[in-house]
């Protein structure tokens, strides 16, 4: 759902502060970026050199016959025999000047100097050009092959060079894409690592107030959006800029005037694309918003289908849906129209630009101010020009969405809600387990006191049960012992040391927690008992499981301790999950155990296993139990009765029953039947 809403949020504009912060992530990869830029440089040159090669083939080789020739009467070295004559390249003294012309798929030897740039025509074997009349001989294909052997060789050489360049472009092109993507992937890998570590470190109160789904989206989808920013925006922008500059340079090198003419076309194209993009962007946004609405409607109506059916309002909801669907259709049709107008329009602009180029270039070719090959190269360059401009405007969209994502990511990174370790922590190894609350006041939300002036002391190895109605503050006490929250007033001492003076990790290593709803991780049974702690051997796991009676059901599983545990362990009963959690606590073997007993009914067989296990694991261990079972309470050394955040009664089961106070009532309500 959240994703759909985000689509509707106004997309953030470019923000240089965010950008600077985003760029800091590129630091470790500057050398890769450098390499990519060098490759781009070479690639662009190679890419642009190919049209130049074709131009050379046309101007220097294909049109190579427009050179001057001389007719010799007899054979001489480096001359070719044409019919009865011999011709040689160049102007040779005392020889008859000659030219070669090409007309209707045939070559002719012409006596005299033909101007190749001017029109001519054949009348019989005479060639007429202006006032000149030249005598001509048709050249046989076998003869022309000889004459033009060097041109053909030139073509071949240039073709080989083209082939080489193509291979180079292919290889470099691939390497470039690969490097860019790799760098981008590495950067988002880094960001994910950083973000995950950061969030994991935040305190439970942060997790209480932030839905898990949203946090997950930050680490997954939002970071994914940045990927595009790093891969396709950052480097491609450089590439596109390169391309534009190179094309411009190449054009100016070839012909300044024609380049200037082409430059006039560029603003038109750019303007067309920018205008189109603006409309398209708006239309596209509208489409996304409408699609998000369809999604939201569907999600809601599929999960609420029962209500609709119960109220027999299918017709009404269908009408609503059809409307939303129609709106989506209209929006997408609108976008289609924009694309249908602009795409052909941009093609048209390109064609017009081409026409203009042909016109101005053509006139220059006619006037002999330009070779045809250069004109041809310009046509190719014009084609290549469109791509980077189109690209740049496309990148702008990505830039925008990555701005929005990065803002959300940085906001999360700037969160600093955490339980801080003291600067000079008291070094502790294994605690004895003496727990004391001294006038503890605690609230999750300001002034909404959950615990009010709570004081008690538990001696090492003692077993204490907390009882009370829902909301009395039992669970909070459990959380406070592990310092998941900091108290507002008072002191919590363990072995006489204020827990704020210990490293929270050292503290928690001394406390095993078994929660009411045991959380199991995806993986196997072993993994759920040792929780990534490699120091706990398989033997320890098995003996721990046996100790807490968990082996009975584990041994029955097909893969025993390697059996798969699915998400949250839903294939196990609550009782079984509790036993696994007991095994976990035993395997870690800390001096303090806090336990929130399960409320749900557990079948009698498992129940007795749990009770037996409970007795064993609490042995010689300071134990705090939020109790829901009479048997548990009865075995406790001390019962502390909480009511609305205050301690009301303390004593053993018998003592408290005799008092006929709050405990007595609670007993009547909650425990009597469970005995």
């Amino acid at each position: 759902m959240e994703n759909f809403q985000m689509e509707e949020a106004v997309v953030k504009e470019y923000d240089s502060k965010l950008m600077r912060r985003l760029l800091t992530f590129t630091k470790p990869y500057l050398s890769s970026f450098g390499l990519v830029i060098i490759i781009m440089f070479v690639l662009t040159i190679a890419d642009l050199y190919i049209p130049k090669l074709v131009k050379d083939v046309i101007d220097n080789n294909i049109n190579g016959y427009t050179r001057d020739y001389s007719i010799l009467k007899s054979y001489s070295p480096e001359s070719w025999k044409i019919g009865d004559l011999y011709i040689k390249e160049g102007n040779i003294k005392n020889a008859v000047k000659a030219s070669i012309v090409y007309s209707d798929n045939a070559y002719y030897l012409v006596e005299g100097r033909v101007n190749h740039k001017e029109p001519y025509k054949f009348v019989g074997d005479k060639l007429l050009q202006g006032k000149n009349i030249f005598k001509s001989y048709k050249i046989k294909p076998s003869e022309i092959k000889e004459v033009r052997r060097s041109d053909a060789k030139g073509v071949l050489n240039k073709t080989m060079l083209m082939l080489f360049l193509s291979i180079l472009v292919f290889l470099l092109g691939y390497i470039q894409v690969y490097l860019i993507s790799k760098t981008g992937q590495k950067i988002i890998f880094d960001i994910r690592q950083k973000l995950f570590r950061h969030v994991e470190d935040l305190s439970l109160s942060f997790f209480d107030s932030n839905p898990v789904g949203r946090l997950v989206t930050r680490i997954t989808n939002d970071v994914e959006t940045l990927n595009e920013m790093y891969t396709s925006v950052l480097l491609n922008l450089i590439k596109d800029a390169f391309l534009i500059i190179f094309i411009l340079v190449a054009m100016f090198l070839l012909n300044v005037k024609l380049a200037l003419i082409t430059l006039f076309v560029i603003p038109v194209i750019t303007a067309a694309i920018i205008i189109f993009k603006r409309y398209d962007r708006e239309a596209y946004r509208d489409v996304r918003v409408k699609l998000a609405r369809i999604n939201a409607f569907l999600s809601e109506n599929i999960s609420g289908m029962k209500i609709v059916q119960i109220f027999a309002k299918e017709e009404k909801k269908y009408k609503e849906f059809a409307n939303i669907n129609r709106e989506y259709f209209d929006a997408s049709y609108h976008q289609l129209q924009i694309i249908a107008i602009f795409r052909p329009f941009i093609d048209l602009v390109y064609s017009l630009a081409l026409a203009a180029l042909l016109w101005f270039g053509g006139i220059r070719v006619i006037n002999n101010n330009l070779t045809f090959g250069i004109l041809f190269a310009f046509v190719s360059y014009l084609q290549k020009f469109f791509q980077p401009i189109n690209d740049i405007s496309e990148k702008y969209d990505i830039l925008q969405s990555s701005m929005a994502s990065s803002e959300r990511i940085f906001m999360l990174l700037d969160k600093d809600e955490r339980i801080k370790n003291p600067d000079n922590p008291v070094s502790i190894e294994t605690l004895k387990g003496e727990i004391e609350f001294k006038n503890v006041w605690f609230a999750y939300k300001e002034n909404d006191w959950v615990l009010k002036d709570v004081s008690f002391k538990i001696n090492p190895g003692e077993k204490v049960a907390f009882v009370g109605a829902t909301g009395a503050g039992k669970t909070s006490i459990i959380s406070l012992i592990s310092r998941f929250y900091d108290i507002q007033k008072g002191e919590i001492l363990i072995d006489g040391i204020n827990i704020k003076n210990m490293n929270k990790e050292d503290l928690r290593k001394n406390v095993a927690t078994v929660l009411q709803d045991v959380f199991l991780f995806t993986g196997d049974i072993k993994g759920n008992i040792r929780l990534n702690n490699d120091e706990i051997s398989d033997e320890t796991i098995i003996s721990a499981a046996r100790y807490v009676n968990a082996d009975k059901f584990i041994e029955k599983l097909p893969d025993k301790y390697d059996s798969y545990v699915n998400e949250r362990g839903t294939t196990f009963s609550q009782g079984e999950r509790q036993l696994i959690a007991f095994a976990r606590a035993i395997a870690f073997n800390p001096p303090i155990l806090v336990l929130d007993e399960a409320t749900a009914n557990i079948d009698t067989e498992t129940e007795s296993l749990i009770q037996d296990a409970l007795e064993k694991i609490t042995e010689n261990r300071t134990t705090i139990i939020v109790a829901h079972r009479l048997s548990t309470i009865k075995k406790a050394d001390k019962i502390i009765v909480l009511h609305k955040g205050k301690i009301r009664e303390t004593g053993t089961h018998e003592e408290l029953l005799k008092r006929e106070g709050l405990y007595y009532n609670l007993y009547q309500l909650q425990y009597k039947d469970l005995a």
Binding site: V212, Q309, R343, F376, A512, N665
Partner: protein
């Protein structure tokens, strides 16, 4: 082939639009071939020095003219073909939703909301792609290939064959790579969702992780998954990154062949320079259709797979539907259940066993029982969310299976346990049962449901939007709005399914006494876990494990000293504890 047929069936409504679109597409494909030819002529003239300004004007104005008609034609086919595809999409989405509305609870228990949503969005997109992009690509590819090829052949057969050798490989690469890329892409999605899962799990279990000081270890685990995600992405990049350079390379091989062989041909006089230039452009034209051949195969494959998924749902028959029903306009509120035993599909033991009870119009029935005792099942059956055997449930004296669903459900006002509200205004939510909006009625119903003052306290009053996008309501507020929504319907039968669990016992009693007047003329069923809510009912039923274990008036049940009495006692103590001051 069958799938193709059903694809065509959906488009037949728009066949004329398609016809126009495809005609223009063909036309443009043909016209498109002229400019290279013109440029070829111009080249010949220019290179021979035979060109004059007049030639330039003639050819260039022709090019401009053709460009304009192409722009217009392209606009038309885009609008007609893509537009039709969108129309088909629109129709299919409506149809799909309408069908989903008919399917019963069983279906929804078996299908995830996300999957059904994907059908209406992602899968429909894939179908639309086939019907738009797919059709265009295939037409384009065929026409362009045939025409371009024949023109090239008419210029020079040998040169055509030589320079075109590499191009079929473009199609081959596009097909093969398309498939590989798609697979790798699925892998990427998979690893991405794995990464999502691990983050999700980690944050959900953060308490345990912190308790056992596993942050560092979990970080390593996350790193592994993050690394895996990186690697799968790189696997995709390796192939995907090669695709375009490779296609470009193959296409450039064609140009290399052309330059080498064609250049020599011009030199030897077999073809003119103009032919050479035109060839150059035609090869450029051919690269796209070759790629299109490759892509289109993938697009169509995906579209057909999606269509199959959609049709699978469309072919699902609803479980609950009108069959041999009586022509009724009206039901009275008598309810009687005779020997009703019901078992959910795919379960072993019955959820209800041998239920017999009768409630007359105007009476109130109270139902008490533990979670899972069958209370909700019983009312689900009264609404016919599941099918029951004939002659087990009678409403207004008529077998429920003979009552038209619409009449049945319009006669019953049901307030469910989970008060599902739509994310729209409070007014809209309450007005769900009605077609016309009458504010007076809405206000009246909210007063009866004891939520009127609450609503007025919101900044936007009745226009307050509820749910994630608006004000988050408390459980009790939601439940009372849900009650108002039912009351405005003014049905013959009212059913409250433990719908006031989120308000305290006192408020519940208040609301119920407010409703006394309304309930007088109706049949009411109150399901609650609180005795206080049902104690005044004309008949109270205690359900346990799907069976009626106790039945009677409050006083009778108290005397019976059974389950009912023990619940009553407990609740007395509970009240006592709650009222204790600190």
């Amino acid at each position: 082939m069958n799938k193709f047929k059903s694809l065509i069936r959906y488009t037949s409504k728009y066949k004329f639009r398609y016809l126009i679109g495809i005609t223009f597409l063909l036309l443009i494909d043909l016209i498109q071939l002229i400019p290279p030819k013109l440029i070829g002529y111009l080249t010949d003239l220019l290179s021979k020095g035979n060109a004059t300004k007049a030639h330039l004007i003639k050819y260039i104005s022709l090019i401009v003219l053709i460009s304009f008609s192409m722009a217009i034609g392209r606009y038309i086919w885009r609008i007609y073909i893509f537009g039709s595809a969108r129309l088909v999409e629109f129709d299919m989405r409506n149809k799909l939703f309408q069908h989903l509305q008919k399917l019963s609870q069983n279906f929804y228990n078996q299908h995830k909301t996300g999957d059904l949503m994907a059908l209406a969005t992602n899968d429909l997109n894939a179908v639309r792609m086939t019907l738009g992009q797919g059709i265009i690509m295939i037409t384009d590819a065929i026409v362009l290939t045939i025409t371009t090829l024949s023109i090239m052949l008419s210029i020079n057969v040998k040169l055509t064959l030589i320079s075109l050798i590499p191009l079929p490989f473009v199609a081959l690469v596009a097909t093969k790579f398309g498939k590989i890329i798609h697979n790798k892409f699925l892998k990427v999605q998979e690893s991405f969702s794995k990464l999502t899962d691990i983050v999700q799990e980690n944050f959900s279990g953060i308490r345990i992780i912190k308790s056992f000081v596993q942050e560092e270890k979990e970080y390593i685990k996350f790193t592994k998954e993050n690394q895996h995600n990186y690697e799968t992405n790189m696997e995709l990049v390796k192939i995907w990154g090669m695709f375009f350079p490779l296609v470009e390379f193959i296409a450039s091989l064609s140009f290399v062949f052309l330059t080498g062989v064609g250049g020599t041909y011009v030199i030897y006089g077999y073809i003119s320079l103009g032919d050479f230039i035109a060839f150059n452009m035609y090869i450029g034209t051919l690269v796209w259709p070759m790629m299109a051949f490759g892509w289109v195969i993938n697009i169509i494959q995906r579209g057909l797979a999606s269509l199959e998924r959609i049709e699978n749902i469309l072919h699902q028959k609803p479980d609950v539907f009108d069959n041999d029903v009586k022509d009724l306009k009206y039901l009275n509120g008598d309810i009687s259940i005779k020997n009703l035993t019901f078992k959910y599909p795919d379960t072993e033991s019955p959820a209800l066993e041998n239920i017999n009870l009768t409630v007359k119009e105007g009476q109130t029935l109270g139902i008490i029982g533990k979670t899972g005792s069958g209370k909700s099942t019983l009312v689900n059956l009264l609404l016919r969310l599941y099918n029951v055997n004939d002659n087990t449930i009678f409403i207004g004296g008529i077998d429920i299976n003979r009552i038209p669903l619409k009449i049945l459900r319009e006669s019953i006002g049901f307030v469910p346990q989970d008060s599902f509200l739509f994310s729209t205004t409070i007014t809209e939510n309450i007005n769900l049962p009605l077609e016309q909006l009458d504010m007076a009625e809405i206000i009246e119903s909210t007063k009866a449901a004891d939520i009127y003052d609450n609503i007025l306290n919101f900044k936007d009053g009745f226009d307050t939007i509820v749910g994630e996008r608006g004000v988050t309501l408390s459980g009790g507020q939601k439940q009372r709005i849900s009650i108002a929504r039912t009351l405005i319907k003014n049905p013959k039968i009212l059913i409250f399914d433990d719908c006031l669990s989120a308000v305290d016992a006192k408020t519940e009693v208040n609301i119920l006494s407010n409703l006394k007047n309304i309930m007088k003329e109706k049949t009411s069923i109150i399901i609650s876990h609180r005795i206080s809510a049902v104690k005044d009912a004309d008949l109270i039923v205690v359900l346990d494990d799907g069976k009626i274990v106790e039945m009677g008036l409050h006083s009778q049940l108290i005397e019976m000293n059974g389950i009912y009495k023990s619940i009553f006692d407990k609740q007395q103590i509970e009240e006592k504890i709650q009222s204790e001051e600190v």
